[in-house]
């Protein structure tokens, strides 16, 4: 019964809250919110609130990729968002989101994993990317991917040196200077654009009500150059192939704009330097 008013306005490129079909809600991004981490970011997209913390720890490389470090994703759907997530209630959604994150990063170019290697086959950096879902206002995947990109941009990994003594045993030395660290290049980190099919049109950045009306959605993971790294259809309804191609084109277009705005915001925030006033949840 809710779908009727939303659908009729879709034909004029006007949604319930006044946005066009390809407009995002106001996004707030802030990095370096939590200090116990190597990098962190908070993203607020309408009523969706995500906090991501990245912790860099030393580990052993995987057997099939001895010259690379790796990323581990964990998503915690906190009971803050809705009481249904209490206890193990949020585990299903958390696993689904984590698996999607693994898939979008599962290619050679998203993150330079070779830079995370310390000594081949023995030591490497493992980046634990922990996503905390605090409030759910629709369009989770997009917000989470933006937060992950911002947190990886903010990540500072301490520089280490491998010292080898006469007997051949290796020792790892951490640099004394706490500001001596390596940064990750997030040029090719993809962002997810979710397109929901409502009636005959598709919309970007759906609110909870719009998601409830939509038959099916397409998740497209796009890099800043417009390269698609992963695509997935979700939802109970079905889509015809023509819609899928249309939605993919929209996703690429919207994704490129999203990346440009995100990059400029992140660089602007960084240019404010260490004296920048941190707002966090107090603002």
């Amino acid at each position: 019964s809710h779908s009727i008013p939303v659908r009729s306005s879709e034909t004029e490129d006007l949604r319930v809250d006044g946005r066009g079909c390809e407009d995002y809600r106001c996004v707030e991004v802030e990095t370096d919110v939590v200090s116990n981490t190597s990098g962190s970011a908070r993203v607020k997209l309408g009523h969706t609130d995500i906090l991501v913390g990245v912790k860099a720890e030393m580990g052993t490389p995987k057997l099939e990729k001895p010259n690379e470090g790796y990323l581990e994703f964990f998503v915690d759907c906190s009971a803050n968002a809705t009481p249904e997530f209490e206890g193990r209630g949020g585990d299903d959604l958390g696993t689904e989101i984590a698996n999607t994150l693994y898939r979008i990063f599962n290619n050679k170019s998203s993150i330079d994993l070779k830079s995370l290697c310390i000594s081949p086959r023995e030591h490497c950096w493992v980046l634990y990317v922990d996503v905390l879902l605090l409030e759910c206002g629709g369009n989770l995947f997009d917000a989470i991917s933006i937060a992950v990109k911002a947190a990886l941009f903010n990540t500072r990994i301490p520089r280490v040196r491998v010292l080898e003594d006469e007997e051949g045993s290796k020792d790892i030395e951490l640099s004394d200077d706490p500001y001596d660290c390596i940064r990750l290049s997030v040029e090719n980190v993809p962002c997810i654009v979710t397109l929901c099919k409502i009636g005959y049109r598709h919309v970007v950045d759906a609110t909870l009500q719009e998601e409830a009306c939509s038959l099916a959605s397409l998740l497209v993971s796009v890099t800043s150059k417009g390269v698609v790294t992963c695509m997935r259809k979700v939802g109970k309804g079905s889509l015809d192939p023509e819609s899928i191609f249309e939605m993919m084109e929209t996703g690429k277009r919207v994704g490129k704009v999203l990346h440009t705005s995100l990059q400029s915001v992140l660089h602007k925030e960084e240019s404010l330097g260490p004296k920048r006033q941190k707002v966090g949840f107090l603002g």
Partner: protein
């Protein structure tokens, strides 16, 4: 206490505070729009979020409903990146369950549950950064969240931790001071009546010193009360300005 001096000869602690000095507290109510009540608190480097849903109908089995009062349900969760060393699971382990039960006991003493029979009040606390005094931060945040939700309480619940080093009682312990292994006391107080909602003590403490440590914690809790009272009044003032009163 391997070489770390918790209290210097001049009376300064590791982070430069005096023995009875609290860390800087900043708090905000109404952080999330979709929850019934929410609040955020920063006590030094410890950051905690509390969200309240309720009073609403009992979820799950109706058999748990109490005929004369509301059921208070608490969950304590600390983010995997909150501690120095990464935590594997945010909640579900023994410590989180115990904290949840302690929070429940604390708030059952303060919330006027008789006003909402056969219903449930959910209090979810999330620790974002843990630097000592997590229980106290959680209780303080939860008090503000319950007030933000408009659920009637007998009084504020204010909590603080205290320790004992070199014959002096220390108020509001940081992680370094907690990890040093001395006696720790956690106290939740209802300030107006001076009633204690929860008292917990770890490690050995001679009973002659107990009164001093208890008094230090109670005084710190009363100081926290002044601050929380100010935060609530500020929030109500802002809300009434927006409503145009």
């Amino acid at each position: 206490m391997a070489g770390l001096e918790l209290l210097s000869d001049q009376g300064y602690r590791v982070d430069g505070r005096r023995a009875a000095e609290l860390r800087k507290i900043q708090a905000r109510m109404g952080v999330f729009a979709q929850a019934d009540g929410s609040a955020y608190i920063e006590q030094g480097n410890t950051k905690a979020l509390a969200v309240v849903y309720g009073p609403h109908e009992i979820r799950g089995s109706r058999a748990r409903a109490l005929p004369d009062r509301a059921l208070v349900n608490c969950q304590y969760s600390s983010a995997t990146f909150s501690t120095g060393e990464r935590k594997r699971r945010p909640h579900g382990d023994r410590k989180s369950c115990e904290m949840g039960l302690q929070l429940r006991q604390t708030f059952e003493a303060a919330i006027l549950t008789q006003l909402h029979p056969r219903s449930q009040i959910d209090i979810y606390v999330q620790v974002l950064q843990a630097d000592g005094g997590t229980y106290a931060a959680c209780v303080n945040a939860a008090t503000l969240a319950v007030l933000d939700a408009g659920i009637p309480m007998k009084d504020f619940v204010c909590a603080c931790s205290a320790g004992f080093v070199d014959g002096t009682a220390l108020a509001d312990l940081s992680h370094v001071e907690e990890a040093a292994g001395g006696p720790q006391l956690a106290l939740a107080l209802l300030p107006a009546a001076g009633q204690i909602a929860l008292l917990e003590m770890d490690a050995r403490l001679h009973e002659d010193h107990l009164e001093r440590v208890l008094e230090a914690a109670a005084q710190a809790a009363r100081d926290v009360h002044t601050l929380l009272d100010h935060v609530v009044r500020q929030h109500v003032r802002e809300a009434s300005i927006l409503l145009g009163d």
